[in-house]
């Protein structure tokens, strides 16, 4: 085991320490609740020399990501963080970053959407942009935030991946929740991350001018075929990430002694007849509720999704194949499906499994609402009924 320091800090500070350990060259941030203190920690760390990077103060999130695209093309390791309306304002450069294959790392301190006005936690922002081509990883606790930010650079810059990564942590619950955290040793992190490698595919060079992202030809100019080739390339990078994310987590566990399920975690699933499915910080309450139910003999387990993009199809199917009913708790809404997005995509995984089992959609924790052990107990009881054929009509709103 390596030398490490212990801190007591919240998730926003933990993310900033993760950034510091990754030694970025350029950071750009624009504050927005509940990310603001993360932006402040980054600024403070730069001012104190803990992060030796250029800090760009720009006029909004659109410019934040545009600036980082240029920096990344020039060889810089970069970081930013945003959420909510800031992420919405960032969307134009946001969905351009993955096809440019720029390994930018960004924390989304997840927050519920507007309107109605809310500056409190929820995952509507990150879930809304889930199809833009970024890798999305959701953290369960403060230590995982720090560790995952560092791992994100290794995943993003892997030559088989070359995609930007969002490390998502729940606004309020993880952004301001304080825990004891181990700060890894800098030299060990340096060895773990290896050489910076953000622009091996592009390398901006004044002596070698090149067109960055020129228009593809129209239908008469071979454009669509070229376009499809790059689209397939992006899909391939995503699929490669399903191998690279676990490899990087494994190496992290070996070096630093902390292991996390990289894609999907199975909790008490071996003898379970049914399970609840979680994502993000709600998982702690979910596990406690599972423990309580098991004390009175319920054969219930828990399936936690850490990596939502790329979708962990095989890992989730492996977990789902062990149970005969599931209750899925989403912290956001799929308006078009009248359910939660995690629930909806889990149904797709079940289809490929050729296994028709009852699945119930629960939506909770919107706009900063707490998802408590009592809520999960209700989820467990409702899912237990579904197992016996009494399937509740979803979605069930936990915080009405």
């Amino acid at each position: 085991m390596t030398m490490s320091k212990t801190l007591v800090c919240d998730g926003n500070e933990a993310a900033a320490w993760g950034v510091a350990l990754a030694r970025p060259d350029m950071v750009a941030v624009y504050p927005i609740t509940p990310q603001s203190s993360l932006a402040e920690y980054i600024s403070q760390f730069v001012a104190d020399g803990i992060i030796k990077a250029d800090l760009m103060d720009v006029e909004g999130e659109h410019s934040v990501l545009s600036v980082l695209q240029g920096a990344c093309l020039a060889g810089a390791r970069t970081f930013t963080a945003s959420c909510g309306q800031g992420l919405a304002f960032m969307f134009e450069p946001y969905y351009r970053t993955p096809p440019l294959r720029l390994p930018i790392v960004m924390s989304i301190v997840t927050r519920d959407g507007i309107t109605p006005q809310s500056v409190w936690g929820g995952q509507q922002d990150a879930m809304t942009v889930r199809e833009a081509g970024w890798i999305h990883m959701y953290c369960e606790n403060v230590q995982e935030v720090l560790d995952t930010v560092v791992m994100a650079y290794k995943i993003a810059e892997h030559h088989d991946v070359m995609l930007p990564v969002n490390v998502n942590h729940d606004g309020n619950y993880l952004s301001y929740g304080v825990e004891k955290v181990e700060l890894p040793d800098q030299a060990e992190v340096d060895a773990f991350l290896g050489r910076k490698d953000t622009n091996w595919h592009a390398a901006l060079d004044p002596e070698r001018p090149m067109a960055v992202d020129p228009l593809t030809g129209g239908a008469g100019g071979g454009g669509p075929a070229l376009f499809v080739r790059y689209r397939k390339g992006l899909c391939k990078g995503m699929q490669n990430a399903l191998k690279v994310v676990p490899q990087v987590h494994e190496e992290w566990a070996k070096r630093f002694g902390r292991s996390y399920a990289p894609l999907v975690e199975e909790y008490c699933l071996e003898d379970a007849r049914y399970a609840v499915v979680t994502i993000g910080s709600m998982t702690g309450a979910g596990k406690d509720a599972v423990d309580l139910a098991r004390e009175v003999g319920e054969k219930v387990g828990l399936i936690k999704i850490k990596t939502f993009r790329p979708f962990p199809l095989e890992a989730l199917r492996r977990a789902l194949s062990k149970v005969k009913a599931v209750g899925v708790v989403d912290r956001s809404v799929s308006f078009g499906w009248n359910s939660g997005p995690v629930y909806q995509e889990l149904l797709s995984a079940l289809y490929g499994l050729n296994q028709r089992i009852p699945a119930v959609s629960f939506i909770g924790g919107l706009a900063g609402a707490d998802i408590t052990i009592e809520h999960f107990t209700r989820v467990i009881e409702t899912t237990a009924k579904a197992l016996k054929g009494e399937v509740a009509e979803g979605p069930i709103w936990l915080n009405e």
Binding site: A202, P214, G220
Partner: protein, 97 residues
């Protein structure tokens, strides 16, 4: 920012489906889209450069006594004809030869 040592850029290492940078992509010839072309009346042109200023594709080139559009890039939008204070530019339909 710390300076990185410049090394030769080897494009052959880059997978051909990775990204639209530094690959075989070239800047599109927007002239391929043109349905009408700007034709300059050289007697009326006074080289005031209004067309050069307004052209969104920056395709106007300077000649001895007049300006005209570079037809590889000119997409035939007609802004130059609209803006020319001497009405020296006429949009003419492109026809198959």
């Amino acid at each position: 920012m710390r300076r990185q040592a410049r090394k030769a850029f080897d494009q052959s290492r880059i997978p051909d489906d990775l990204c639209p940078i530094a690959t075989e992509l070239t800047v599109l010839r927007t002239g391929d889209w043109r349905a009408e072309r700007p034709v300059v009346d050289r007697d009326k042109c006074v080289k005031c450069a209004t067309c050069w200023t307004y052209c969104p594709t920056q395709c106007i080139v300077e000649k001895e006594t007049w300006f005209e559009a570079g037809l590889e890039i000119c997409k035939g939008c007609g802004i130059c004809a609209q803006e020319c204070p001497h009405h020296a530019i006429t949009m003419m339909e492109e026809v198959e030869e």
